[in-house]
């Protein structure tokens, strides 16, 4: 094996794309699908004449984009020659086509990438070096099973952790639950709560509303004004069956004014914003406070709504036992403890938005009803994200836009779908749960983590460190987790976490940290039941077929886990005597219990492939029942009402042990944070804010190794011309982006589409450190921090200060 750390080809045994394709051709014939395949004109005609008939198979793209696109795989001689999508008819919006985006359309190129894992491997050398030796499936499963047994016997079930991973969300049998099922039979595993997508908003919003809930985006046809805080469907919901098409379609029905508030002029802004308001990252709560000031002082607050449906707006609705001066009105008008009036002038300096624009925006929002206000998940993925999330909701609350058609709660748009069953996992005997983001501390320093210091749930203190790490279909071991270098250091010590098992399709940065690395089938290499995504307004299912045989020695996830079950003596309990195919049929019959109109057997369903039930007649209105009758339909909050002031947060803020500078408050407030827009001290050295936006080249890190996509949607750091000029940087220059945590080198996109003082490096690019540890892949996480947010203990991955310099 060579010493090249950063060359995946070397680690993978020098595999080239030609070799991948040649191998797969051996299965089905002599057809060779190389870059010199189909061309227009003369060549193509000859090619077509010599070819036998194609078959077309329904499959899906299964990544974490919120949607779930059907793809039609055209197969010839046993391998893919073309990918198409749903073309079953687009005339009726209720059952419109679910058109895959550029990522799903590149599936053919993706599954034959040089980084494709071929066979089971075991680590030789240090963890993270990416040095592996090929082993048999027998040896691989023997090792994993015996280590799992040893670790459970030595340290207990709480030492086993199934890592947060979302590379494969589409299937039923090939999904994370299949391993949870095995683990629950074996005594359980350490849980996590939250997600890297929504840690802060999911923890915080229930204190206001009792639960997360939003109107469907299509409800905006009933609005007179739409305001998006950091909501970018054009990049985060790209499916032609998902939110971006809902948005575009809604605009065609009604040309309602759309205002986009975002540090970048996003693709959503380019498509449909009537106005873009640039805002410094992490300062949305300051903007909202100033807007609230305008709404309140100019008499636009809906006093009746606030009195009837809410707690904490003013003295008339405060809970017992709270000293005076702690109402929301006090906070905004400066009669509270901080004695600061949240005027537009106050917010201007913080947000970078001119005071007069804040004033007119406040008047627009205050006087236009109904007003659809929503936030994406970027604003909450910050050091003070919980405050941001609750603050944005204050605008619809102050203006009485909650629970009405054309309004919204301030949360992200809601979704619709049929809740088809997941693999039965049984109950986890272990109830201990850690925040999804703090697993490295659970490896490194578990004993110090308590309910009051680290958000441990189900137990007062985490007694057992993580010893066995299972990482199926995810890159959050290193690529998607904060502070790659610090994370690598913790992972490298195999006396701490003793066993890391990675299951994937590709040699990702996370795969390089495996002790045992197992190759899995892609979604085109196995059949499964796939349901609509989690962020759509249409219900459907795909009964997919195996389009092509598994590449190399890839195995189905179910078969891998069943192999472990056998070695651990629980095969019958795990499989119930069924093989994978029988489990698919079994789960399909459970789907038929919910939807009896489904065809009799899975094979019958596969003949149809894509089965649609369409969308509801009317867009959902969140908390409509509560708005109509708060007495009989109270919210799931202690008071049953909207808690602007949350007594629970008041208590938590006083009892939890937080690091200096971290705050949990009962009201939604703005507070400056470490490495935020107001951290003048750190800005001496690192003057530019940086965040990692979602980007069309990839879905997180999935598809991050497809050259077609890298070619047409380049990985670049966005920097404003004013900042670039100061640094002698021109568009296309290679630059260094660095702070105390690390450095990445990437090309610069000099563009006015981002605010001065702010830079953006799209998240998900593959971590490729050179011998000195400098990342050459443009991976934003060499720069992000492990410091969790105060309430959710969530990932603050958009709160960073950096410097950028010409290379």
């Amino acid at each position: 094996m060579s010493n090249e750390k950063s060359d995946p080809l070397q680690q993978n045994g020098g595999l080239t794309r030609r070799e991948v394709l040649k191998w797969s051709a051996v299965l089905g014939g002599t057809a060779c699908m190389s870059g010199g395949g189909l061309f227009y004109g003369f060549t193509k005609k000859a090619y077509a004449q010599s070819r036998p008939e194609e078959k077309t198979v329904w499959a899906t793209c299964n990544v974490n984009c919120g949607s779930r696109c059907p793809i039609r795989a055209h197969v010839r001689d046993g391998h893919l020659v073309r990918i198409e999508t749903d073309s079953t008819g687009d005339n009726d919006f209720k059952t419109h086509e679910i058109r895959a985006c550029l990522r799903g359309r590149s599936t053919r190129r993706w599954i034959s990438s040089p980084e494709r894992l071929k066979y089971p491997m075991k680590r030789v050398g240090k963890r993270g070096e990416g040095k592996f030796q090929r082993i048999s499936w027998e040896e691989a499963l023997d090792t994993v099973a015996s280590e799992l047994r040893r670790i459970i016997d030595t340290h207990g079930n709480e030492s086993v952790y199934c890592h947060y991973a979302t590379g494969v969300l589409g299937g039923t049998v090939s999904r994370r639950e299949t391993f949870y099922r095995l683990m629950n039979i074996l005594g359980g595993y350490l849980n996590y709560y939250g997600s890297y997508s929504t840690a802060q908003i999911t923890a915080a919003l229930p204190y206001t509303y009792g639960k997360r809930n939003g109107n469907h985006l299509t409800d905006m046809v009933n609005s007179k004004l739409v305001v998006f805080f950091g909501n970018n469907p054009a990049a985060t919901r790209m499916s032609g069956g998902g939110t971006v098409y809902d948005l575009v379609h809604a605009r065609k029905q009604k040309d309602v004014k759309v205002i986009v508030i975002d540090p970048r002029y996003t693709d959503t802004a380019a498509t449909c914003a009537d106005e873009w308001i640039p805002i410094r990252p992490g300062t949305d709560a300051a903007l909202v406070s100033a807007l609230a000031h305008v709404i309140i002082t100019e008499g636009m607050a809906e006093e009746e709504f606030l009195s009837k449906y809410c707690v904490g707006y003013d003295d008339t609705t405060m809970p017992d036992g709270i000293p005076t001066g702690n109402t929301y009105k006090d906070y905004i008008l400066g009669t509270g403890p901080d004695k600061t009036e949240k005027t537009p002038e106050w917010a201007e300096k913080i947000t970078g938005i001119p005071a007069d624009r804040i004033s007119t925006l406040g008047r627009e929002i205050g006087s236009t009803k109904p007003c659809y206000i929503s936030q994406g998940w970027g604003p909450q993925r910050q050091a003070g994200g919980e405050q941001t999330a609750r603050s944005i909701c204050m605008l619809p609350i102050l203006t009485g836009n909650v629970g009405i058609s054309g309004g919204n709660t301030g949360d992200r748009e809601g979704s619709y779908g049929i809740p088809f069953p997941r693999m039965p996992t049984g109950k986890n005997p272990v109830s201990t749960s850690i925040p999804v983001f703090t697993w490295t501390k659970a490896i490194d320093d578990a004993g110090s983590m308590t309910d009051l210091t680290d958000g441990i749930k189900g137990k007062k203190r985490l007694e057992t460190p993580i010893k066995f790490l299972w990482n199926y279909a995810g890159n959050t071991l290193i690529n998607q987790h904060s502070d790659c270098h610090k994370t690598a250091e913790i992972l490298q010590d195999d006396s701490k976490c003793e066993m890391i098992v990675v299951l994937d399709n590709y040699m990702t940065a996370s795969a390089k940290f495996a002790d045992i690395l197992l190759p899995c089938c892609t979604s085109l290499e196995e059949e499964d039941i796939i349901r609509q995504g989690y962020a759509v307004e249409m219900a459907y299912m795909v009964a997919s077929k195996q389009a092509i045989k598994p590449f190399f020695e890839s195995r189905s996830f179910f078969d891998i886990v069943a192999g472990l079950a056998k070695r651990l003596g629980v095969e019958q309990e795990f499989t119930l005597g069924m093989n994978r195919s029988q489990w698919v049929e079994h789960m399909y019959q459970k789907c038929r219990e919910i939807k009896p109109d489904l065809p009799p057997t899975f094979k019958d369903a596969q003949k149809i492939g894509l089965i649609k039930w369409g969308r509801p007649d009317k867009p959902k209105v969140a908390f409509k029942d509560f708005r109509n009758d708060p007495e009989t339909h109270p919210l799931k909050t202690p008071s049953g009402k909207i808690e602007i002031f949350s007594k629970r947060l008041w208590e938590i803020g006083k009892t939890w042990k937080l690091p200096q500078g971290d705050l949990i408050t009962a009201l939604p407030e703005y507070h400056p944070t470490w490495e935020g827009a107001e951290d003048e001290k750190t800005k001496q050295k690192y003057p530019l804010q940086l965040f990692g936006n979602h980007y069309k080249q990839r879905t997180h890190s999935s598809y991050g190794n497809v050259d077609w996509l890298q070619d047409i949607a380049r990985q670049e750091v966005w920097i404003n011309p004013l900042d670039a000029d100061e640094r002698g940087i021109k568009h296309g220059d290679m630059v260094r982006v660095f702070n105390d945590r690390g450095e990445t080198q990437i090309t610069a996109k000099v563009t006015p589409r981002i605010m001065p003082g702010v830079t953006a490096l799209p998240q998900g690019a593959w971590f490729k450190p050179d011998a000195k540890g400098i990342d050459k892949g443009g991976c934003v996480n060499v720069l992000t921090s492990h410091h969790p947010s105060p309430l959710a203990k969530g990932n603050p991955q958009h709160t960073n200060l950096v410097q950028v310099a010409k290379l």
Binding site: A234, V248, P756
Partner: protein
């Protein structure tokens, strides 16, 4: 088959996602750098800092997806020394690979970058309006792929009557040069042709 096939781009629906590019690349197995369809980002605007450390700006940006416009007076055809580049009875402009010598004159001549040199073939290649799909009564790959339904096709006269004949749109060249079979719905941000307000901001990607 259509008499004068034309693409219709609704820029008010185009998010610049580039799915059209990939659908085309996948169908034709195009090698690196050969793009039958190209999505340009046209961006402009300035920033002004106020004395309160806040900002005013005039930023705008939009995307334009262009393949071949199968022009009424294709300059690629008139510039071709071998007659390889030709316009057929169905209005489609394409390359005869029994005649093309790869001199690349058409590439110089075309104001839309439609003819693309394929280094593996040593000849010119280009969008042929997915003639094979049209013959089956199906849409071109890019049109079928577009997630936001921004891209359509049809008879030029009909599309023009329905959606207007606005073609003087930046960054497109003057349509009187080649008379493109292209119908564009301008958006809020659309700049007039020849505008100096913005520029193509992603030259390396098209």
């Amino acid at each position: 088959m259509l008499k004068r096939p034309a693409f219709y781009i609704d820029t008010t629906s185009c998010t610049g996602c580039k799915t059209c590019m990939i659908a085309c690349i996948d169908k034709h197995d195009l090698p690196h750098g050969v793009h039958f369809r190209r999505v340009s980002e046209y961006t402009g605007g300035a920033w002004m800092k106020t004395k309160e450390n806040s900002y005013e700006q005039t930023v705008f940006s939009y995307y334009l997806s262009i393949a071949c416009n199968h022009c009424k007076e294709p300059v690629c055809v008139t510039s071709c020394p071998t007659t390889a580049m030709h316009k057929d009875a169905n209005g489609i402009v394409s390359v005869d690979h029994t005649k093309c010598v790869g001199c690349r004159y058409c590439e110089w001549a075309c104001p839309y970058s439609a003819p693309q040199f394929n280094p593996e073939l040593g000849m010119m290649t280009k969008c042929d309006f997915c003639r094979d799909e049209l013959e089956k009564g199906l849409p071109p790959a890019c049109v079928a792929a577009c997630p936001t339904r921004a891209l359509h096709y049809g008879e030029y006269e009909e599309l023009g009557a329905k959606f207007g004949t606005a073609q003087l749109i930046a960054p497109l060249p003057d349509p009187s040069i080649t008379k493109p079979s292209l119908v564009v719905k301008p958006g809020r941000n659309t700049q007039p042709a020849g505008s100096k307000n913005g520029r193509i901001s992603n030259p390396e990607e098209v």
